[in-house]
Symmetry: C2
């Protein structure tokens, strides 16, 4: 069993650094553990308090007297090695070291302290994340050890990161997009376990369909490539790398003590590893979202179904820019489509319904284009909900409310059916919409497994990533890895 399996699924956690002073980072973390629904045992360790936040507190780890699967330490830097040793003596084998002040700060003292951590861990067989990290989140056991509240738990995306902020501070952005996270791991300075270990662990996690990485350095390039290639055989890996410019490199060094290499070297490394490189965090999340939810297309031929010309033209343009195609439909298919739409609608691809309010037509058209065999996937623009048009009307026509409620109920059910068409044909579907997750319709689509993006370029790039993954996966199955990769940090 991978050591991260126990760390991410503990039955019991001891917390160092929580107290009855709410302004301490450890207190925030303990409050989050207690409020997120974690059902294991939680032991606050405090040298003087009898209780911490209503829980019995223990003077030291040895006083707990019961097995402790995981310790999390938020303590002054200078005491961390000694406390870690006490944990080791008490039989603890997994740790998260939040405290900073190690390799990432200038000077020899920080590096020396990090070596002490490594020695203690080696002596007692402790495997740990950090130091200088923010903790973990695992929706499978409702565990959130970070300082950040309300992670949007669920889904099947995992994210391992050399930036703590990116695993935790993004929660409001995720919520706004409608993206859920299944597991996050902040690896900090990677004194022990690194991103390569995270890949080895996440590869075998059945609940995880797609893995994201935030990279400032790869410390063991050969092992990383091997681990990534094994992972890509079963699930996609998307990474961002920001060490490759002068200022980016300077910043990485001060952040996690990482020595980073030029962009091109990392491009090559990711290519060998079968990893999709995203431009930035928002782009990475766009790709992970579709990769975790939608089937892979057999090729790049796409249908566009829209009720509005601008978004339709934009989707057609951007999918071609992304290396996909929007083939003109055959006469036979157009005839079938025309029977549904009536003669005034252009059905050549894009199919432009121009302000069609009978939304149910979308499903018929989607079935026809999927069944035709002329496309490998589809984009839809034009989903909405009644409230988007009726707010002002209802002030003048109060009777509309009852009609809207009835309509809306049927409509939400219909959106699930629309998503099911994609699943039944095993062909991907992307919806473009400006409505956002405040719209019940958009939330219904997302809940049914359809990703929704607010722009054509984001929709097209997301769809393209499915094809990229298919090609990478096939490439790895047929070609051996070139293991003579140069160390990017040298």
């Amino acid at each position: 069993m991978h050591p991260l399996k126990q760390l991410m699924n503990p039955s019991s956690i001891a917390i160092f650094g929580a107290s009855n002073n709410p302004m301490k980072m450890g207190s925030i973390q303990l409050a989050n553990i207690l409020e997120t629904g974690f059902e294991g045992e939680v032991y606050p360790i405090h040298r003087s308090e009898e209780t911490v936040m209503g829980l019995p507190a223990y003077r030291s780890i040895s006083e707990v007297g019961k097995p402790v699967d995981l310790v999390q330490l938020v303590l002054p830097t200078e005491v961390v090695p000694r406390i870690l040793e006490e944990c080791g003596k008490a039989g603890v084998r997994r740790a998260i070291i939040i405290s900073g002040g190690f390799k990432e700060v200038p000077g020899e003292l920080g590096r020396e302290r990090e070596r002490q951590l490594e020695e203690v861990a080696a002596a007692y067989g402790i495997r740990f994340l950090g130091p200088n990290c923010v903790g973990i989140m695992n929706s499978l056991c409702s565990l959130n050890t970070t300082t950040i509240i309300e992670p949007p738990m669920g889904g099947s995306i995992a994210f391992a990161s050399q930036s703590g902020a990116y695993t935790a501070m993004i929660n409001p952005y995720l919520r706004a997009q409608g993206i859920r996270m299944c597991q996050t791991l902040s690896v900090g300075n990677e004194a022990d376990m690194d991103l390569t270990e995270c890949l080895d662990y996440l590869r075998d996690e059945d609940a995880v369909n797609a893995v994201g990485l935030y990279v400032e350095t790869i410390r063991r390039p050969r092992e990383f490539i091997a681990a990534a290639r094994e992972t890509v055989r079963v699930k996609p890996v998307v990474a961002i790398y920001v060490g490759g410019t002068e200022a980016g490199s300077r910043s990485s060094l001060s952040h996690t003590g990482a020595i980073s290499g030029p962009d091109e070297l990392y491009d090559g490394l990711f290519r060998q590893a079968g990893v999709i490189r995203a431009e930035d965090l928002d782009h990475m999340l766009d790709l992970l979202w579709i990769l975790s939810m939608q089937p892979l297309p057999a090729g790049g031929r796409m249908a566009v179904i829209t009720n509005s010309g601008g978004p339709g033209s934009s989707l057609a343009y951007h999918l071609e820019k992304a290396g996909l195609e929007a083939p003109a439909f055959s006469e036979g298919l157009r005839k079938k489509l025309d029977e549904v739409t009536g003669p005034l609608t252009y059905t050549g691809n894009p199919i432009d319904l121009t302000f069609e309010t009978n939304i149910f037509i979308f499903k018929q058209l989607l079935e026809l284009v999927y069944e035709s065999g002329e496309v490998d996937g589809a984009f839809i623009y034009g989903i909405f909900g009644a409230p988007d048009f009726m707010v002002n009307l209802k002030k003048r026509f109060p009777d509309l409310q009852a009609m809207e409620d009835t309509w809306d109920e049927g409509y939400q059910a219909f959106l699930a059916e629309l998503a099911a068409v994609s699943a039944a044909h095993a062909k991907p579907l992307v919806v473009m919409s400006f409505l956002g997750t405040r719209s019940r319709s958009i939330q219904s689509l997302i809940d049914s497994g359809v990703p929704v993006y607010p722009s054509a370029v984001r929709s097209a790039r997301a769809m393209r990533s499915l094809l990229d993954y298919l090609l990478l996966k096939e490439g790895i199955s047929t070609t051996p890895s070139a293991m003579d990769v140069q160390d990017p940090a040298s």
Copy 2:
């Protein structure tokens, strides 16, 4: 006075197509006009109803008996030319023709009907927008003639579009981002007034600081270039163009009857015109937002101030990728910064405060870097509000609420001061944050004129556009236009 001035600021509007049936597009538009706060006269024209939505209705335009500044028509295609002629006879000189079924549909009939419109308009001196458009929005007179509710009115961005959806359906997206729109114009098939006319009008609108264009074709390239260059002397113009691929071109033709040209030709056209080309609508809005609110930098040297390494490294990386630079600070400046931050903080640029909770330090640091003369602008990551950390804590420590309220009040005031530092030094400031507009802090910053983006790449590209505009503006002042441009549609 430009003909669009009267069209966009009418004292009286007659609406054709509204009725007491709420399911008609004209009814939705009338409800929106009435509920958005428009203070002019509104006259529904209906052949049989005595009143429409409680307003007295008129059998025909001639029965109104008072001056009508603007008519908006949502009628069956075949009657539109005749009704437009009645309006002309009654003295109406400005019209918005919503109805479709003209040049954009296949066949000679549509083109013939569009010619009829042009003839009627010429005979009576009517200037009009459309056909096949969605209406206008003008926050200056609280007017929204579109079908879409609750436009986020205000700010100083204007948007003229060959896609109706893009001027109106984006409202929820704008609200989610915190972006406001001052004026929108849907030009439809451009049978009379086109994007070039919009530029001529918007150039002299004092309330408009930045102009966006959605382009599927430019029908009069020489005039467009001339109008754009005159506009760019006083305010930036950002355009998106999506006709340049095979499917994009096919889609444009079916959408507004536009014959579009290849991408490269439009790249050249925009370059000559001094227009910034954006990739897609979301990108265009990102750029218009900063361009409408922030001062232009004197050069590309940028400071990054962060409380988190990942976002700091990402900003450093992406600003360099965007052609800006994050220069290493001088010893003299670092000494001053160190006095504020203490010795453990890296102040070389990025300045990485690593989980600093004393947010007021940001303002001191921003003043120091601006005053140093070593940078032309700055990025900040690390703004937050108390609620982001305290939600779970407060369940355990109820007394925190009062503390948080006090703190929050001071903090919101502080954010306005932070924005004022940028204004006082006339150097641009961009904030990167994942919190989104549900956060009071982010809303305070936006209200103070600071744009906030949820990713490093979006932040960096936005900042870069200020420099792009500066260079374009300088270029136009010093070089004559090459007027021998090729017609992109030929």
